[in-house]
């Protein structure tokens, strides 16, 4: 029996076990939406803006090990989706985006709602396809899912012209994929693993630096075992939080621009550094020359060879899946007769740095401190919530003060830094985990970048808790202007803010205004007690609070500004 391209598209999604498609209909995808209508296996979540569809698919993927799926129409549908796609690309999130395209005979004629989707998305996808013949559709979608989740994951776009979704062909979903030019290396080189093990055994001041690769590879267990085995302090990047339990005594906190003093000093002063699924990003190691000015040997595990020795020269490159390489490394370490030294002096030094208490802040009984809100949030949710965030100061405070013990609980846009990510991402997370607690930590700036999604949340009964740290400023911009631009707060004040409580109510949700520190805990308790409702908490926080510690852009990791320095 022959099926239309639209039927094939839906059948492929069913074959892939897709539970939710996040999308927005339009002319070029009408046949596909018609087929969606006729079945129930694949559920569609109607967002209010295509950017949110992609972020929701992204949040869904980050909080599970599955591929997120978004469906958008041609032209503005796909251009609106680009920010979401780029966000997923920067953080290596497995995702398939299906976009409609004008009919093949119209392509290139500047047809209504025509845009070169493959061209526009090329620099921010792992790969993309324009399907010109319905006969290629099933195989292309199979490839898209395979590419999205294998190797270093990433978004894949499949552009389907309207006529292709209406043409018929025999349907057979391929059981395997073979792309002759694509063979990601999964297992690490045995000799190099031995070298790495030896280096770790001989280290006097070992340090483990673990990033988002640990989360993506579901390797938190292996990481924890290895860190304990080599008796090293462990730091996580912003993307890696939860990859190592924050409450463990070997954890030294997040590193980087707003990392703890002990994490950054440990990075700078270790003699053997094991980097696991991390990429020595500029926000993580600061000034490369400054970082390189101290000798240390570096072992780097990453599935993407291009991530290795990109910014920092590495001594032992271990290309492979993080989980697989860690498992092999643990085996070699365990079978070795040599045992790692007890790094007594090193731990003494680490504890001295810890003594700087770099996350300390002065709480107030007059004005709500944003850090206090996050600490209380952690307490009320027993550290067990899924926390999404937007971008800015609130994101850093959430990363610093919500101590993540489990992977896939911390959902944020690390690489691209996309404001407007938090709420739609929380929708994806909540749909993936219906009974779980999901909170979106945001600011009054970020939340307004996708606030229309409060409507989607109502339609799909998503009881997300929006924790808005409302300081009436684009706080991170304000902070940089205070530090580096002579207190000239150019365009960083948020004037004419809406009444968020009324706004939440207008969308059919609950809104709570919190203005006093003494009300913080009660408000949070009330919000989380409302298990079936979305609650928007508008916390009026200290508008002059800054994120500390801070390694200014272009500076080295040890050139840090601590709160007490000012």
């Amino acid at each position: 029996m022959e099926l239309t391209g639209a039927e094939i598209t839906i059948r492929c999604l069913q074959e892939e076990g897709v539970e939710y498609v996040f999308g927005y209909p339009g002319g070029a995808v009408l046949f596909i939406y018609d087929e969606l209508f006729k079945q129930e296996a694949v559920k569609h979540v109607l967002v209010r803006h295509e950017q949110a569809a992609v972020h929701a698919a992204d949040g869904y993927a980050r909080s599970t090990e599955k591929v997120g799926v978004a469906l958008v129409t041609s032209g503005p549908g796909v251009t609106n989706a680009v920010t979401g796609i780029a966000t997923a690309y920067m953080d290596s999130i497995p995702m398939v985006v299906i976009s409609g395209q004008v009919p093949t005979s119209f392509i290139g004629e500047d047809a209504f709602q025509e845009v070169d989707a493959v061209g526009i998305t090329r620099p921010c996808v792992k790969h993309n396809f324009l399907v010109k013949d319905v006969k290629d559709l099933a195989a292309t979608l199979k490839k898209a899912f395979y590419l999205a989740k294998s190797g270093r994951p990433g978004p894949v776009l499949v552009d389907i012209p309207k006529d292709v979704s209406n043409h018929k062909t025999a349907f057979e979903y391929p059981s395997t994929v073979n792309i002759r030019s694509y063979h990601p290396q999964v297992t690490g080189d045995a000799n190099l693993i031995k070298q790495a093990a030896q280096m770790l055994l001989e280290a006097k001041r070992p340090m483990v630096y673990a990033g988002g690769g640990v989360i993506l590879s579901d390797a938190a267990k292996q990481l924890t075992e290895l860190v304990r085995l080599v008796d090293a302090p462990c730091t996580n990047t912003l993307m890696g939080l939860g990859g190592y339990p924050a409450s463990d005594k070997q954890f030294v906190g997040m590193l980087g621009m707003h990392g703890t003093y002990e994490a950054n000093m440990g990075m700078q002063n270790c003699d053997v550094l094991l980097a696991v699924g991390a990429r020595f990003d500029d926000r993580v190691i600061g000034n490369v020359a400054h970082f390189n000015s101290v000798p240390r040997r570096i072992i780097h595990i990453d599935i993407d060879p291009a991530s290795i020795s990109k910014r920092v020269k590495v001594d032992v490159p271990l290309v492979g899946d993080v989980g697989s390489v860690l498992t092999d490394l643990i085996k070699v370490l365990k079978s070795s007769k040599q045992k790692p030294d007890a790094h007594k002096d090193w731990w003494k030094q680490i504890d001295e740095w810890r003594g700087a208490n770099s996350l300390n802040y002065k709480n107030s009984s007059e004005i709500i401190k944003p850090q206090f809100v996050i600490e209380t949030l952690h307490k009320i949710t027993h550290g067990d919530a899924y926390i999404t965030s937007d971008v800015g100061q609130h994101q850093m405070w959430a990363a610093q003060y919500y101590k993540f013990d489990k992977p896939r609980r911390w959902i944020n846009s690390g690489g691209l830094g996309t404001m407007g990510f938090g709420l739609p991402a929380a929708m994806g997370v909540q749909l993936a985990h219906p009974g779980e607690t999901v909170a979106c930590v945001t600011g009054e700036g970020s939340i307004q970048m996708n606030i229309q999604e409060l409507s989607t949340c109502k339609q799909f009964n998503l009881p997300i808790k929006v924790i808005a740290l409302n300081n009436r400023y684009l706080g991170m911009v304000r902070q940089w202007q205070e530090f580096f631009h002579g207190n000239r707060y150019s365009q960083s004040y948020m004037d004419a803010l809406p009444d968020f409580v009324k706004l939440a109510e207008a969308y059919g949700h609950v809104g709570i205004l919190v203005e006093k520190p003494s009300d913080v805990e009660g408000a949070l308790k009330e919000a989380f007690a409302r298990k079936d409702e979305l609650v928007f908490l508008d916390f009026r926080t200290d508008s002059t609070e800054n994120v500390y510690p801070m390694v200014p852009g272009g500076k080295g990791l040890s050139e840090v500004i601590l709160a007490e320095d000012l």
Partner: protein, 163 residues
């Protein structure tokens, strides 16, 4: 340093723009780029002449390998290789210049492949530097048009770029 990178890639629509897009997005130099199908109709062979530090060249190789359409990559400059470029030059050939241009073309082992009353079109093959020398050797005022293909390269002996 100058490098000449050869690669095989799937003969798919858009494959060329993935490579050229990679170079512009990451700020790598392209001195020249040539591409044409191979004996296997599903594959194209591309030769890119680029320059950069060792670190940059290492990244270029890795990033090219990462492209899903790219099947294999070889930095020809890592070993013995042969490099050739084709140039077509149209020159004003009148009076005494006619004889002189023919002579220069012979010296450089070029061939006159088109003749009119007032012009010659000369075909010349060789390494880029040889083509440069020819252009410098003839009277600059006589050059009407120059067309160069950019370098193509191949490894010497058993150095072969295959799937």
């Amino acid at each position: 340093m100058r490098h000449i990178i050869s690669l095989l890639m799937a003969n798919e629509a858009g494959a060329l723009s993935r490579v050229s897009g990679l170079f512009s997005a990451r700020g790598y130099n392209i001195e020249s780029l040539t591409v044409a199908p191979t004996e296997d109709a599903t594959l194209s062979r591309m030769t890119i002449v680029t320059s950069g530090s060792d670190e940059v060249i290492e990244q270029i190789n890795k990033q090219l390998n990462k492209l899903v359409d790219v099947v294999s990559v070889m930095d020809l400059s890592d070993g013995d290789h042969i490099e050739r470029e084709l140039m077509l030059v149209k020159v004003r050939a009148e009076g005494a210049d006619r004889e002189e241009l023919k002579r220069m073309s012979d010296i450089f082992r070029g061939r006159v492949i088109d003749v009119s009353d007032r012009t010659y079109t000369i075909e010349l093959t060789g390494a880029g530097s040889k083509l440069d020398s020819f252009l410098q050797a003839i009277d600059h005022k006589l050059i009407l048009e120059t067309v160069r293909t950019g370098a193509s390269g191949i490894g010497r002996g058993e150095r072969i770029l295959k799937i």
